[in-house]
């Protein structure tokens, strides 16, 4: 990606659409959004107020879209954005925002601040003011096909292990299968048990599925860094693979931003609707279970709770399925006080976990989840996003807590009625 400050400002200006113009017009500077953001509540630093992170974009909006702003420019009274402003705000725009969208739920005038941050990042990344870790991840995603550098060879090695452990054949490049499955690099590297669970569940439920050797990576670093070009390229790889295999559905895995990238942003990035549908793995499991194709038996009595991945639940709309599934396999399921669409973020979404510079802050704001867990007093937390899982596990370790984190798909797979038992 080419970096240029002037182009960055131009790009930032291009991002101001009617939504953003209405948001800036409506903001009354009441500060309520701060109370919803874990970066403010856990640090008390007013600079972490969500709408304050939009200050460079607000200044540009004022200059370009308001009477006083234009007037001030004419008289030479307005200070144009400088590289220093970008340098000063880079930390606020990237390190202290996970684009979790909690602030967007509470603003009295209805501003979707997470959307604004997503757009502001487009200007920042074009200008070259984005964290090195995220730049590298995006570069790897574009050149190698995965932000973590996972290649097809690595995937095949992981699949070979799964095949050995389960005795199942994992379908690859199967023309005309109903479902094409994506994985996140983190699942391939850190949680291959997710792949194993999917394989076992699909086998038991008789799902016709495949993996594409052309596009198996679900994550989209372009969305996180704020590059619609990179994001569009990553989405089109999946779309091309799915359309050439002729599948009916593409399954988004247990990864938050991957889902909102492919499900909600993707068609807009490539400029057309897909010829297939996107379904999140939790939606599919819930559907299979309701259709009677996924037979479950037994359940755990361990008291446990669910950490809602922001991009799947609040920003993705998959609110009911994880709860339905937990209702089937966990009798001790209890909700945290703020849950569902008002959950608190793990602190590492939106690319924050790929940004080493932000580590200290990320671990600090994990305190919000720690307090939630301590209030509830449970020792097991289920989630449905590999990134949340890693971030939560790191936070738990850092705070020396005794809490286990497990993936929901794996938990469901544990209570699968095997064919022999049927």
């Amino acid at each position: 990606m080419e970096h240029d400050f002037a182009k960055g400002v131009e790009e930032l200006g291009r991002q101001i659409d009617s939504r953003i113009a209405s948001y800036f017009s409506s903001c009354v500077h009441c500060g309520l959004c701060a109370e919803a953001c874990l970066f403010y509540t856990e640090t008390g630093d007013p600079r972490y107020t969500p709408i304050y992170k939009l200050e460079p974009m607000r200044r540009l909006w004022k200059e370009q879209h308001t009477f006083w702003g234009k007037f001030a420019v004419k008289l030479g009274l307005s200070k144009p954005l400088t590289e220093q402003d970008f340098a000063d705000w880079e930390e606020l725009v990237y390190d202290s925002c996970t684009m979790c969208g909690r602030c967007s739920m509470v603003c009295p005038v209805g501003n979707d601040i997470a959307y604004m941050i997503r757009k502001e990042r487009e200007g920042f990344s074009t200008a070259g003011y984005s964290p090195v870790g995220m730049q590298e991840a995006t570069h790897r995603a574009l050149t190698i096909g995965s932000p973590m550098g996972v290649t097809l060879k690595t995937l095949k090695a992981a699949l070979a292990h799964v095949e050995k452990d389960t005795g199942l054949k994992i379908p690859m490049d199967q023309q005309g299968a109903d479902y094409m499955t994506l994985f996140s690099s983190m699942e391939i590297v850190n949680f291959p048990e997710y792949i194993e669970s999917v394989a076992r569940i699909f086998d038991a439920a008789g799902v016709s599925w495949t993996i594409s050797s052309e596009a198996f990576e679900a994550t989209n670093s372009g969305i996180q860094i704020g590059s619609h070009e990179a994001a569009g390229e990553l989405v089109s790889r999946v779309v091309n693979a799915a359309e050439s295999l002729g599948v009916k559905f593409v399954i988004s895995p247990e990864c938050g931003h991957a889902y909102s990238a492919i499900r909600w942003e993707g068609p807009n990035l490539i400029g057309r609707p897909y010829k297939f549908e996107i379904i999140h793995i939790l939606e599919l499991l819930d559907q299979l279970q309701k259709d009677g194709r996924l037979q479950l038996s037994g359940h755990t009595d361990t008291p446990l709770t669910f950490h809602d991945p922001c991009q799947i639940v609040r920003r993705g709309g998959v609110v009911g399925p994880p709860r339905d599934l937990l209702g089937k396999v966990a009798s001790g399921f209890v909700e945290m006080a703020d849950h569902g669409t008002m959950n608190w973020c793990c602190g590492g979404g939106g690319g924050v976990s790929a940004n080493e510079r932000a580590e200290e802050l990320r671990l600090k704001v994990f305190d919000r989840k720690r307090k939630q867990l301590e209030e509830l007093g449970v020792k097991t937390m289920v989630t449905a996003c590999a990134n949340c899982r890693i971030v939560l596990e790191e936070g738990i370790e850092d705070r020396e807590m005794d809490v286990e984190v497990i993936g929901l798909t794996e938990l469901v797979a544990e209570y699968l009625t095997t064919k022999s038992a049927q």
């Binding site: 009617s18 939504r19 409506s26 006083w68 967007s104 209805g110 979707d112």
Partner: protein
Amino acid sequence: MIGQLIDGPLWYFSLAVFCLGVLFRFFTILRAGLKPDLAIPRAGGAAGALRNLFTRFVPRRDVATRGRLTLVAGYLFHLGLFALLFFARPHVDFYAERITGFDWPALPYWAFIISAEIAFIGLLLLWLHRLLHPVTRLLSTADDHIGTGLVFLVMLTGCLALAQSFEPLRLLHLFLAELLLIYFPFSSLMHTFTFVFSRGYTGAIMGRKGVNA
């Protein structure tokens, strides 16, 4: 002479600036453009927009706790001001004579006093909060203070004018209200109208995702 100016031409001028200015602001918002959402929705955007327009009047649980002062003061101010603006006896008569041609039931005097007190308490609390709280101090611009200050002065002179029945005070009140009308479209006071856009846009996109925003 000045009285005639305030009562006549300046009133019509400020009203015209207000109306045209507000329409122009709507136009600048719409002119920025919005690409259609090509993702297949779970539910209708229009229903989401409409829902969000109303549900945002009720605060969410934890913000209602953490931001209690802002919320309570915000409600007091807005409700009090609404009552004063549309139901104070002199206002009802003024609108009937100058704009609508018909009147409607006005507040009795005691209810006017309560509304005024509520509005004043709310406004002063919000202003104090704006001046003292680190977050609002950081966010606030000159525009926020000018807007608040003008509203405060308009309310103050209005109450005094009614209590004292003193013509110069009424004229001062009207003059300040006219300044407010002229300032309004160029300020964040525009949220009075643009909240319909901002809540609507967010409600629509979240509604399409199947989320009650």
